[in-house]
Amino acid sequence: MDQTALIDVELDRGHLPAALVVRISGELDFGTTPKVLSVIEGEPPAGSSMIVDLSEVGFCDSSALGVLILVQQATETVGGRTFLAGAQRQVSSALRVTSLDQLFVMCADVDAALHEIRTA
């Protein structure tokens, strides 16, 4: 089995400079998070916010939560905010029990996040 097929990470620069959208699909754990890190390294550009689309993420473990924290820190450094969009049941539960849901702006989907950025 092709284990790399477990995760797919895609950057959508179509909404820049307002926000960079990261679409992740698959399951996030210590085996797959390195791929996420490699894709988002150096992002987002100065002044942009970051929208992580989690609607296709069926599972996330503590190492994935660690990656999300790194994303938040990088974005904050360039003056943006971090949005988590469309978190599924297990993912939002993991965010909730670790209280990390307070660190991010939680949105129903990417459009809701973009709307919030534009009306802010």
Binding site: F59, S62, Q73
Partner: protein, 596 residues
């Protein structure tokens, strides 16, 4: 003889000449005979007197020996009463003696000889009257040929004499029993006879002699009881109360030796461990008395303490042995420590020179775990550990030598007999286990314990449980594979409603094993009743610690997740690494879950 032949030729002459002389001689002879007879009678009388003296001494000696060798108060006082009543030729005799119970209350009991208990049971206890007073005050002997004419008689209300219905009594003899050590009055002997003038000074001597021996014997019995009660109390205070453990029918029996002077150092224990596991312990400190009981108490506590660290059986015994070496005394101590794990229905055990545990399979087959796994505690420095299957329906018997060792039966025969008895016990329903264990002890010991008897019998009544095992590799995909495995197992077990929690916990445990040890072993899922245990083993002895995550710094959140989702979690060492486990409460699936 040769001189006689020379006299023969002249015999006729002599006979004739000596006729009148012979009459004289005959008279002399007769008087001599009479004197001899008289002397013989005197001697016979003297001999009879001496014989009687000797009898008296012998009798006293025999009674004394018998009395002073007894330590049981009840049989001792009865024996003394019977012996003294017989020796004094009394029609009936009584012994009133003072006892102090465990609450410190003093009261008087009595035994009777030659009269039924009903003859006195309607009368009050004798009081400090003119007749009885000197005896109870220990002032001296009261002997009266006819008490009814004695000046001391009839002085005290309400009876002014014997109460109506009293046995006919004229001759009276009463002797105080006074402790030779404390001078305390322990009680008094009272003898009676319906005819006057029955008690002589010899009877008095005998009664005083027996009273002396009775005093020594009572002192001994009191001291013995005090000493023994102290040891029994000490031992009892250190023995745990065995609480019920879900999934087991437990019978624990501890019977102090009926014979012998002091309690032994046997102990038994049942200890709840994390992950629904249970430790069963049986041990024996050789030697008897307060010293053995005190060592037992320390060893038992040490076993509990190391058990609480959740060390494997061999390590528990090794640590306790090391500790025991630092304790004063030199008794050797045997101990067997067995842990039941419901996840794989096994019993892991180590044995420090103790008698072999018996495992009763669900089909009734009895196996003694005979293999020598270690020397007794204090001597042993290294212990081996073994594992046997222990599925629901199995039984485990731990015991001490008092159960199988008897003076008239070798230990091996005792163990054989125990095997037969356990096979029979296995056929009894769970509800009868306790009673059946009493019966088993009675059967093996004949109801007479030369030594303390301890028995712990445990029957595994765990409901059916399911187990799924997945080997792990150190690959980055280990957790993803494990999640698939967990989802499949929980679907098969109709536990889909806890899948999210279970895969989160499993992933974190595997993540720790893969990232921090590089040597994960396996993942196990165990479902029993309302619990799901997820555990991950690895070949690294280091124990994970939950660290407080810093607000916006990545990391340290794995065990936070586990702690949030699991009912409890923990870690325990295994022989070549460790197990990290988490227990999830599994509510029964709601109808909506089932329909979805």
């Amino acid at each position: 003889m040769s001189a006689g032949y020379g006299a023969c030729p002249c015999r006729g002459r002599i006979v004739t000449r000596k006729h009148s002389e012979s009459d004289k001689l005959r008279e002399q002879l007769a008087s001599l005979q009479a004197a001899v007879d008289a002397r013989t009678a005197d001697l016979a009388e003297a001999e009879a007197r001496l014989q009687a003296e000797r009898d008296l001494v012998d009798r006293l000696q025999a009674v004394g020996q018998r009395l002073t060798s007894q330590l049981d108060m009840d049989s001792l006082v009865q024996d003394a009463t019977d012996a003294a009543t017989h020796a004094t030729g009394a029609a009936f005799g009584a012994f009133f003696y003072n006892v102090v119970n465990e609450r410190g209350e003093a009261y008087t009991l009595y035994t009777l000889s030659g009269a039924p208990r009903e003859a006195f049971s309607s009368f009050p206890m004798p009081r400090n009257t003119a007749v009885f007073g000197p005896t109870f005050a220990g002032e001296g002997v009261v002997r009266s040929d006819d008490i009814t004419t004695d000046a001391r008689y009839g002085q005290n209300a309400p009876y002014h004499g014997m109460p109506a219905g009293h046995l006919p009594l004229r001759s009276y003899l009463a002797v105080p029993v006074v402790s030779t050590t404390s001078r305390e009055v322990l009680g008094g002997f009272f003898f009676g006879h319906p005819a006057p003038g029955q008690f002589t000074s010899r009877h008095e001597q005998l009664a005083v002699g027996i009273a002396g021996y009775a005093a020594i014997a009572l002192d001994n019995a009191r001291l013995f009881a005090l000493h023994r009660n102290t040891a029994v109390e000490l031992q009892r205070s250190m023995l745990p109360t065995i609480d019920p453990v879900p999934g087991f029918e437990i019978a624990s029996k501890y019977l102090p030796a009926a014979t012998g002077s002091e309690v032994g150092g046997d102990w038994l224990d049942v200890i709840g461990l994390p992950g629904r596991r249970t430790a069963f312990v049986m041990g024996d400190v050789m030697g008897r008395g307060v010293g053995a009981a005190a060592v037992m108490g320390q060893i038992r506590t040490a076993v509990r303490a190391y058990a609480a660290l959740d060390l494997p059986p061999d390590e528990v015994l090794r640590h306790v042995s090391d500790l025991a070496r630092t304790m004063p005394g030199h008794q050797f101590i045997t101990c067997v420590y067995a842990v039941h794990d419901p996840v794989n229905s096994t019993l892991s055990y180590a044995n420090a020179g103790h008698l072999p545990p018996a495992v009763v399979a669900p089909d009734g087959t009895v196996t003694f775990l005979q293999e020598r796994l270690g020397l007794p505690l204090r001597i042993g420095t290294r212990f081996l550990q073994r594992q046997v299957d222990f599925p629901p329906g199995s039984g485990l018997a731990l015991y001490t030598d008092g159960l199988v060792e008897r003076r008239d039966r070798p230990v091996d025969d005792g163990i054989d007999e125990l095997g037969h008895a356990l096979r029979e016990l296995a056929t009894r329903p769970d509800s009868e286990t306790d009673v059946a264990c009493d019966k088993l002890i009675h059967q093996l010991t004949g109801g007479h314990y030369d030594d303390d008897v301890a028995l712990l019998y445990v029957r595994n009544t765990h409901p059916d449980s399911v187990l799924a095992i997945q080997p792990l590799t150190a690959s980055p995909h280990a957790a993803a594979e494990a999640r698939r495995f967990v989802r499949n197992a929980l679907t098969a077990w109709q536990l889909e409603h806890v899948t999210d929690q279970a895969i989160t916990v499993a992933t974190e445990l595997i993540s720790n094993a893969v990232r921090h040890t590089q040597a994960p072993l396996q993942l196990r899922l165990h479902h029993c009743h309302d619990r799901l245990v997820i555990d991950v083993s690895d070949r690294d002895g280091r124990v994970p610690r939950r660290r407080e995550p810093v607000a916006d710094i990545p990391g340290h959140r794995g065990l936070v997740l586990v702690e949030a989702l699991a009912h409890r979690w923990g870690t325990r060492p295994i022989s070549d690494g460790k197990i990290v486990w988490a227990e999830l409460v599994v509510p029964a699936a709601s109808p909506s879950d089932e329909s979805s």
